[in-house]
């Protein structure tokens, strides 16, 4: 029977300890996090001074909010006047301290009382009526202070004075914003060129450089731009206006919409230590239809002395309507392909912005070793406000199979009209014309066209 009681007690104590403090972290993209700390605090009826010594050192004190039933907040303080020797000395001006001097000749120690007269780029003391600069003689001298001044802290400390109606345990929620915690997305994409498909995994990368660790927390991250304001009211307004919109599921993760933001909730509690980078898987898409692309851009009409490699990458559409459908938070996509031995090998990475469902994503991975482009301005004639350019672009493909290059001719100087071409453009706009240029294996293709540009009026 005794054993059972002991075991029951152990279980009960664990349960109480488990409920003593509950942390929720909501992390934004912009090096900002909302920390909500729910805890039980023992209060006395009347005025109470509560110190929170384990808050983030990078707290934004003006965002602190304490909520509890049955209490009135009198005052909030954030003390960051830290305990240093210089501060100690400054607080001791006009007060007495003790100094212990060691005779360099015989090693004897002598203790004396001294009054601190001033501390400006050095301490000046009154020792038995004689005015001295502390340690000007470089003789070993210990300085001893009797106590720590009340408003100096060894660490930045948040304290709140409250008025409680009764004695006893009170549940409270302390919330505040802090910098020092960031999150971003990192994606791993394995591209299969032959089957035109890609497997994509998404990881949340959380980095904590606040100076403290957060143990056993509930975590959610928010994707989207937020308006940063020094006003707490602005933040509260943005945070509280929740829309109960559709929730999309991908694996175990949830996504819900909050205004123009997306929330990604991590289902299990987790711990993030100080100086730690944590990756948590949050999404997975298999066999996404994707294709390689080659592209080359020109923003003027001029000759180049040397050929340039064209850009290469992978493109895909985010989300199928019936299978996956959620926005991709901004981050970096790293693309891998299998080498001849079947090993996934990194071939390049690009940043993506917050990408809604249905958007086409272009991930540039690098420059093609074997596909080059070179421009030649054949002639340039001006007539009034119009200039006629005759241009050639020589594309060379050293690969063992044919390729297509998406070529964009932009013009920043005015509206352009393309005439006299040997390959019809794919799209034509006032300031951008695109071609899909086919080039056979180990062959060249010379694209020729004439552009008439009407210069922008100043």
């Amino acid at each position: 029977m005794k054993n059972k009681i002991v075991l029951l007690l152990i279980l009960f104590v664990n349960l109480v300890m488990a409920d003593s403090s509950e942390l929720t972290l909501t992390v934004y993209n912009e090096d900002l996090a909302l920390i909500e700390d729910k805890r039980q605090i023992n209060l006395q009826k009347g005025k109470n001074h509560i110190e929170f010594i384990d808050v983030s050192p990078l707290i934004r004190p003006e965002t602190v909010s304490l909520k509890a039933d049955g209490i009135t907040i009198l005052e909030q303080n954030f003390d960051f006047d830290l305990l240093t020797p210089e501060k100690l000395m400054e607080k001791s001006v006009n007060q007495e301290i003790r100094i212990v001097r060691v005779n360099p000749g015989n090693g004897n120690q002598v203790t004396e009382k001294a009054k601190v007269l001033s501390v400006n780029q050095g301490a000046i003391l009154d020792i038995n009526g004689q005015i001295e600069i502390l340690r000007a003689d470089s003789i070993p001298t210990r300085v001893i202070f009797d106590k720590i001044p009340s408003n100096l802290r060894s660490k930045p400390t948040l304290s709140i004075d409250v008025l409680s109606k009764k004695d006893g345990l009170e549940a409270m929620t302390l919330s505040y914003l802090s910098t020092g915690i960031t999150w971003k997305s990192d994606y791993v994409a394995l591209f299969d060129e032959k089957n035109k498909s890609m497997d994509i995994q998404g990881w949340l990368t959380l980095t904590n450089k606040t100076g403290i660790s957060f143990s056993d927390i509930k975590l959610q991250v928010i994707a989207g731009e937020i308006y940063l304001s020094d006003s707490e009211d602005e933040f509260e307004k943005n945070y509280k206006q929740k829309k109960s919109n559709a929730v999309f599921y991908a694996g175990d993760q949830q996504k819900s919409e909050l205004l123009d933001y997306y929330i990604y909730k991590i289902p299990n509690r987790t711990t993030i230590e100080n100086n730690q980078s944590k990756q948590i898987g949050f999404m997975e898409m298999a066999s996404v239809k994707s294709e390689k692309f080659y592209s080359y851009e020109s923003s003027d009409f001029s000759s180049r002395t040397d050929s340039e490699p064209v850009e290469v990458g992978v493109k895909f559409v985010n989300g199928y309507t019936d299978k996956y459908g959620f926005a991709l938070p901004a981050g970096i996509i790293r693309v891998y392909i299998r080498d001849v031995r079947g090993n996934p090998t990194f071939i390049g990475e690009s940043s993506i912005n917050h990408t809604p469902v249905g958007a086409e994503v272009f991930v540039r991975t690098g420059q093609a070793f074997d596909v080059l482009a070179k421009s030649t301005l054949v002639s340039e004639e001006q007539s009034g406000s119009k200039i006629k350019y005759v241009v050639e672009y020589e594309f060379y493909n050293a690969r063992s199979h044919s390729v297509e290059v998406l070529f964009n001719q932009e013009n920043y100087h005015g509206r352009q009209k393309i005439i006299d071409y040997n390959l019809p453009p794919k799209t034509t706009h006032a300031d951008l014309t695109s071609w899909v240029v086919p080039i056979g294996a180990k062959e060249k293709f010379v694209l020729k066209f004439t552009a008439v540009v009407e210069k922008n009026k100043k």
Partner: protein, 515 residues
Amino acid sequence: MKLILNYILLFSVLVSNLVFSETVSVAANEKELTIYRDETYGSFYELGEDGVEDAGLAMVTEYRDIQLYQGENLILLKDIVDGIIPQTLNMNDIENSLQESNFTYNLLTPSDLLFHSLNQPVLLVRTNPKTGKIANIPAIIRSTSETVLLEIDGKLEPLGCNGYKEKLVFSKIPTGLVESPELRLRLQAKETRKVRIKLSYLVAGIQWKANYTAILNFSKKTFNLSAWVTVLNSRSSSFHNASIQVVAGRLETQWATIPPELEKAIANTDCWPVLLHKKKSYSEEDEVEEIIVTGIRASLTKPEELDDYKLYVFPHKTDLTAKQTKQIMILNNSDIPFKLEYEYLFAFEEILSDDESEKLRFAYANLVTENLEKNNLGVPVPAGEILFYEKVNNASILINHDYPGEVKDAPYGALIKWGLAQDKRITIYREYSKQEGTDDNPIVTLEFLIENKLSEAIVLTIKQYDYYGSYKVKKIKYANAKVLKEDGLYSWKVHLPSHSKTRFKAKIELTENQY
């Protein structure tokens, strides 16, 4: 019933107190290294405090034998390559799924030992500087902001401000500090068994480049070309018996793909006034000695295709130790025909100068060939640096001794053009120059006397150099040579017969350059 109740209670306690035990993987059983070029810099250079040791990118693939248990597993991986970029960790394993990884770099340093011992008891060991007498004094660390403050017998004293020889002795290492960065994985396993897991991650600080040696025979107008892949490991991690391959091509990378910054605050244990400063740890100031050994009679490594890049695989597993360079040969071709193309680059500011010493210039020679099999080449030529030698009476004389030439990626069939050196047999003397017009809109008349002392006719390209100079060309009023415009700059082709002198004349209207 009582027995069942006992077991239920026992089970509940155990479950509520259960801490997942951690599996420790001491080292990788096998490692593979795929190394990419660093496009930022042309050559390996000094490691210093600017983060240069982070130049370059490599993909490390590790194979580790680990005992897994059905369900959730926590695995601590030791011996991770330093310079790891933790957000690039990838585990392709369909059997076991990686749920979370944690990279902790809360390092055990003297500063962190102090910072994390706040309000803890320590022993102050004080030595009298004259008598040498040692006193062991119990103390409590009360502050580590800027300088350490100790509480001794209820009083406060700064540490190290008194001229004594003092040190602190700690009884334990604070929790949470690690001797080296740690990587932990949370893995979900389908069954209990020993498996070999495969991980890959990117690291900074490992790179490669191609080094070329060309030995020119000017009479035959051919050259012999050998090329080496030189790998540099500037990290303090070594790779033993590793498979190594290098990727030739320009990858797109992002600035955020870098290792975490290990900034440390240094606790000052000196006297007042005090300063708090941060410096990066792991910065070293060793200079990498660029000893590029380009010998012969090495087996050749031919390139493979890797999507739109080229892959050179080291023929055998090998060791790549910390702070080491290593080479394999990738090219050794002979009798490649070449031509020389000459150019003279000038800046308008320069030619308007009256300084006599600036009037005489020499043409610059570029070596040109085509990357084709008929030219004894026809292979991918990856970017790197090249040294040119001239064969003279069985001796090789280095031509470009000031700095190596640049080689760009050149696929099969591409035109190759490499800067060689000044050729003093072709001189350009500025006989006349005159400026008219206004300062904003000058009109320049110039005359160059060009002499070709070669026994062959050549074409000299005179080219405007200063795309970002003060002036740009508004109009060519007159020139006695054919004018071209390439890369936005004007150039003229001047034909020079052998052993001849020719005058180049031009009148050019300039305008202020607003780029």
